[in-house]
Symmetry: C4
Subunit: 207 residues, 4 copies
């Protein structure tokens, strides 16, 4: 557990998760505010979220993996891809980044624009994707915020289990799996091999 | 015929066709419903279909080929790219996946949104792509559902014959072609070779 | 001149130019018709043109280069990239493909949709790109159709000369350049070399 | 300082910065004019800016790096990626290109379209990106034009320092860093190495 956490690369990765989630929330929520000059369309909001996350993964993926979302990090943990300390610090960095991004947005937008949607979006749907904006107005009792926590994390974990254990499984000793979980696994050899193997299996070949 | 069908990879591929068609139909039809807050534009529906299929091919292409559409699978069969048992099970999985996807959508949407378009889309245009929504209101006798079966399959087969036998043909003994059709062809050697060859011929070189 | 023209690959390339221009014109003009259900927005038309040409280049680029446009073919000729017989037959195939695509579109659209824009677009702006639809209504004397011929061809040739002779020049004997023009140049060696060299020079390296 | 500046490749790079900025400003501002037939939506303007810069980087990136923006060039200088003479001439070429692009646009648009937005955009927000159009109408005293200079350059430099010195640092002797700044650094060896190293570190590997 000591090994991975104490590296400089680990600190960089955690910082990058903070920074990328900050930028993502700032752009995403900012694109969904009720701007007076032109109310953004659902297509516009959806493209803002999608292109933002695509650009962030391209820019930061090689440093931290660019999870940006606690559900993704927890799914990677469940899929035995990252260590527990890494997952814990990524999630904390993402939460701090999201709060910071929303806070900066709150500070730089005029009150009439900010007051309607940004606060609402932050309080009632913190983890919802852009497409959920297409839902009809919620019924009188608003959906519990927990919906936005339980749903994405459960779905991501299910997808991770399905992908890493059923669809594209790889054999590994239990001790190695535990070492990954603890962050003491030697990364240079293992990841290199796995990466090669996975790359090969992911080429688009006729089945 | 035994060989290919009995592998674990084959079962995974069939399951992935089921799952990807389910997701595709769920996203595609869901994007075309008459949401009360904002009626989706044709551009929005078209991008939802296009980006959904693009993402699914990227995620699942390396497992099953990500056909997602019976017309594509039948065209691959006609082009001598896959075995008959594979084509049969892919089509069955796709049909089951499409029904499951539409069923889930039916279950999670409110009645006033669902009642108008989802049912209509499911009953009258099961295989139509998003762009067909741009067609004018159909004349009094609505087009036969068979239009959505015969058209895409015929077009896909024609394209497959043109591509695999005229434009990018490759020489192969009849016995080998029959072995592909039966699923008894040794995949490791053959596909490897073909893949290399095809990759080479597909690089964008000046003619 | 005999050599290149008599190959099967040459016939395939010419046919592919015909087919891809047919599809491009069919999709492009079809996206710009005055559909009664929803008038397409300029963004929608622009994306239809752009995504259509992108998909066609991806599918057919390895067979013919996917010029699709006489201005592109003439620019490649001027840039000493293709032979004169190839350029001539490409342009003829493109013109035939464009007429065929517009004809099929004419046949399959209802009269009220087709009558307004398709004929207008075909007669007055045969080579215009989608973005030209954003121009204001033309002044009383409509622009000469020749504008749509002279403009794109002149611009493409200028770009080709700038690119192939100034920005990314390569040394070649005059006799070799003439052989390319006549189509008697040995393609296997030369293109292979040029391709490698050009690939290398086109990698995104810091200057 | 002599070495790099006197090469033909350097002259080409400076010219390409001029040309690409001209095209970018022409397309970007042109997409934001108040066209009478259909006022462009914010999504349309944003996609025009984004796709224009993406295409220009793809076409010209291998010649000059396709900075297109003084803020990007200054950030590369601060990040010790380019020489001072290169940065100086790039910025001059970009300013000249932007003025030329705006001038051509001014010349080819009708007065009623041009008069409203193009001049306004050029005078008040020369460096703003498309998304800034989503801002509410500015308060009575309009923002200083210096905002569009100080903001992007400061932000780009901060990002460059963060990226090149903290997130993806590389060790280099001070004398070498000064040689890069002066343009006397041997480019063939160094860039080749750095490129390989950076390429390797930028592959999307699990952390």
């Amino acid at each position: 557990m000591r090994k991975e956490v104490l590296t400089l690369a680990f600190a960089r990765a955690v910082f990058v998760e903070f920074l990328s989630t900050l930028i993502f929330v700032f752009i995403g929520l900012g694109s969904a505010l009720k701007w007076p000059s032109a109310l953004p369309s659902i297509l516009q909001i959806a493209l803002a979220f999608g292109l933002a996350i695509g650009s962030l993964v391209q820019a930061f993926g090689h440093i931290s993996g660019a999870h940006i979302n606690p559900a993704v990090t927890i799914a990677f943990l469940v899929g035995n891809q990252i260590s527990f300390p890494r997952a814990l610090l990524y999630v904390l960095a993402q939460l701090a980044g999201a709060i910071a991004g929303a806070g900066i947005l709150y500070g730089v937008t005029p009150a009439n624009t900010r007051g309607n949607l940004a606060v609402n979006a932050v309080s009632a749907r913190p983890c919802s994707s852009a497409s959920s904006s297409a839902l009809p107005p919620p019924p009188p009792p608003p959906p519990e915020p927990s919906v936005f926590w339980v749903g994405p994390i459960l779905g991501a974990c299910l997808a991770s289990l399905l992908y890493f254990y059923v669809l594209v499984p790889y054999c590994m000793a239990l001790s190695d799996r535990l070492a990954i979980l603890r962050g003491t696994y030697e990364p240079e050899d293992d990841w290199e091999e796995q990466r090669e193997e996975r790359k090969k299996s992911m080429e688009l070949t006729p089945p």
